[in-house]
């Protein structure tokens, strides 16, 4: 069975996974459930219709930022529990 340390690490990891996938779900699915209605909103400054903008640029950019953020958070979790391998480069 997993040690208590491993359990704690995995619980934090699961929590981060849920938050990350919730944000992912919002940008990939929730917005486009209302694609028709949201399209009447204009994006400030840029002037694109909102849903058009999200599918052409907005959600894509959100994913990029989300994965970098996720990687940073997960590295912090790994370090907190002493399971980081960032320094290890065996070959």
């Amino acid at each position: 069975m997993a040690s208590a340390k491993q359990e704690a690490h995995w619980n934090d990891t699961k929590g981060l996974m849920r938050i990350t996938l919730a944000i992912w779900f919002f940008f990939s699915i929730v917005i486009f459930m209302f694609g028709h209605d949201l399209n009447s909103v204009k994006v400030p400054l840029l002037g694109y219709p909102l849903s058009y903008y999200m599918t052409a640029q907005g959600s894509l950019a959100a994913f990029v930022i989300l994965i970098f953020w996720f990687a940073g958070k997960q590295e912090a979790i790994d370090r907190k529990h002493g399971f980081s391998d960032a320094e290890r480069t065996e070959d």
Partner: protein
């Protein structure tokens, strides 16, 4: 000037390479000014870039198993990101995507969200854990986690089916581009494409493919972005079109209302003799269709592409090549960043291309002009001549209406530089970029198939005592055979590029997504459960595809789940079968559970081997 290890010199080497490519571009510009023909410039672009890739491929040759299968697990984070981006962006992304957006509008752009959002799943659910596992191939993970040759074999079957569907489309694309640029028959183009692909991969396996893919990424991203910025600036739409086309998008919507989006009847199109594969604008550019069904069609397509992304072996195996788990995770983020650069530009190219053709106030416009005048324009003549464009004067008024102009989607990428009056050297660059995109994806796919067959079938099942020489020889022979088979099928031109590409995602998600994810995230998942999931998922998905695909039985799709979305059926069946059968069978032994615990933490030795 290059001291120390190859890996430490990468930024220098690729910096030099990029500089050399820029120099080559300038030389070609000068050659064009001095009267070099358009054709010879195209030939130069293709042969110069392919020669470089082949050189990298030969220099990266190896006789070591871990270098052949996983590039020695020493590819730095950012470079692996570039290689993955090239691996990912296929001929379809490069050549067909902007055209798809041009004709499909908002609805089509579900592909953009799907092909980027999938990386969130890759990074949170899979890539770091598969790297910790230390496998050589994706079936290697299935085979070790669940145990037994049957599970391994099922994974190989799904991998081969999904990747092979994909690879024929890529070889087809290399053939199309080579035949156009070199002015040779399509079939010869396909075989030239294949030889170029094999030169990049055969001697060095994953190691060679990695370093050529980085080189190919640089060519393809320059070839995609440079024309977009140039066109936008030259035609007065602003220097950074991504943030400046709001007015143009609104203008297109206004013009659509003014002209009316007329649907031509199939009979009228046939009677006018429009060549196959050409389209006309009949769907709004930015408007999102109303209703729950329209929203579901968008979302279901995005889901299929996202889940499919997270199940495609040729992408997952790129993350086996990084030095450690942390760098695998970070590398996913870089991959998506490099992919994003192209994907968020494609809608801008579609917008620029459309406004230039349909806005009567612009000099480049053709809609609303007398047809005999349009027919006299040089680029229109050329593309009509090769049957990539067509004019059908349905209402016989001698004026070109929106629904009377037919064009192949690919032409958006290939001809927009010409329409905007850019020098021909840009078209040569675009051809080289398309070739790089198709070659890099084909390389990754052929290698994924050949590696699964040589490692999982030959080495793990048939001859576990085979020595290194034999293993690598078998791997290379399989590579050539798979490539030749793909080229042979591509040369018969059976499928359109994009239909086949979407199918690969659906096949992969039907059979592999849940066995991979639950293998890490659910300790209770058993061998029997995984086998049931893979077999029933793939079988039900395939049966549904045959049921609805227009090319097969062509039945009415259930709940709008058509042949592009059949993975939804396959993946749900896979999940249910896997959970039910797992719970009905005995839980995995303690050694397997301990292995899963180890996979979940980044530190410590990998599960397989010393890496």
């Amino acid at each position: 000037m290059f001291k120390g290890k190859f890996i430490d010199n990468l930024p220098k080497i690729y910096g030099l390479y990029t500089g050399g490519f820029a120099l080559f571009f300038i030389i070609m510009m000068i050659a064009e000014k001095n009267g070099a023909s358009a054709k010879s410039i195209g030939v130069m672009f293709l042969s110069f870039t392919i020669a470089i890739y082949a050189l990298i491929g030969v220099l990266s040759r190896t006789m070591q198993v871990s270098e052949y299968y996983v590039a020695g697990r020493e590819v730095p984070t950012v470079f692996n990101g570039m290689a993955t981006a090239a691996d990912w962006m296929s001929g379809a992304s490069f050549v067909a995507m902007a055209g798809g957006i041009y004709y499909g509008g908002y609805t089509y752009m579900a592909f953009l969200v799907g092909w980027t959002g999938g990386y969130v799943l890759v990074s949170t659910l899979l890539a770091p854990y598969l790297r910790k596992f230390g496998c050589y191939t994706v079936p290697d993970f299935i085979g070790t986690r669940y145990g037994g040759n049957i599970a391994r074999l099922c994974a190989v079957v799904v991998l081969v089916l999904a990747s092979f569907t994909y690879v024929t489309a890529q070889i087809n694309a290399t053939g199309t581009i080579a035949s156009r640029a070199l002015d040779i028959p399509f079939t010869s183009g396909v075989w030239i494409g294949l030889v170029s692909i094999l030169l990049c991969s055969m001697l060095g396996g994953m190691r060679a493919v990695t370093w050529t893919q980085v080189a190919q990424y640089i060519v393809l991203i320059v070839a995609y972005l440079l024309p977009i910025f140039w066109i936008s600036w030259k035609s007065g739409f602003g220097i950074f079109p991504h943030f400046q086309l709001g007015e143009e998008v609104a203008k297109i919507a206004a013009l659509e209302a003014q002209f009316g989006l007329v649907k031509n009847s199939a009979a009228a199109i046939k009677a006018a003799g429009v060549p196959g594969g050409l389209s006309y604008i009949s769907v709004p550019h930015s408007a999102a269709p109303a209703g729950a069904m329209a929203a579901w069609k968008y979302i279901s397509l995005a889901i299929c592409m996202m889940v499919g992304t997270a199940s495609l072996p040729h992408i997952l195996m790129r993350y086996f090549t990084t030095p450690n788990v942390t760098s695998a995770r970070r590398s996913v983020a870089w991959s998506l960043f490099f992919i994003f650069l192209l994907y968020f530009s494609a809608p801008m190219l579609a917008t620029l291309s459309k406004i230039q053709l349909i806005d009567p106030s612009l000099p480049t416009s053709i809609i609303g002009k007398p047809i005999d005048q349009v027919m006299a324009i040089e680029w229109v003549k050329n593309w009509i001549h090769v049957k990539q464009a067509f004019i059908a004067d349905f209402n016989k008024d001698g004026i070109l209406q929106l629904n009377e102009w037919f064009m192949r989607g690919d032409v958006v990428v290939l001809a927009t530089p010409e329409v905007a009056g850019l020098p021909y050297v840009v078209s040569g660059l675009v051809a080289a970029g398309g070739m790089a995109a198709a070659m890099s994806t084909a390389d990754g796919l052929i290698l994924a198939i050949a590696n699964a067959l040589s490692h999982d079938i030959y080495y793990k099942m048939i001859d576990p005592k085979a020595d290194v020489r034999t293993r690598l020889l078998v791997a290379r022979i399989l590579l050539v055979v798979i490539g030749a088979l793909g080229a042979y099928i591509a040369s018969m031109r059976l499928t359109s590029i994009l239909g086949a590409v979407a199918w690969a995602f659906d096949f992969a998600m039907s059979g592999l997504f849940f066995p991979l994810v639950l293998g890490v995230w659910w300790k209770r998942a058993t061998r029997q459960g995984a086998i049931a999931g893979m077999v029933l998922g793939l079988a039900s998905g395939t049966a549904y595809l045959v049921h609805v695909a227009p090319a097969f039985n062509n039945n009415t799709p259930w709940l709008g789940i058509d042949h592009l979305r059949f993975g939804i059926i396959g993946a749900i069946v896979c999940l249910v079968a896997m959970v039910v059968v797992s719970l009905a069978t005995e839980e995995p032994d303690s050694a397997t559970q301990k292995m899963v615990d180890e996979v979940r933490i980044p530190s410590g030795r990998s599960i397989l081997g010393k890496h």
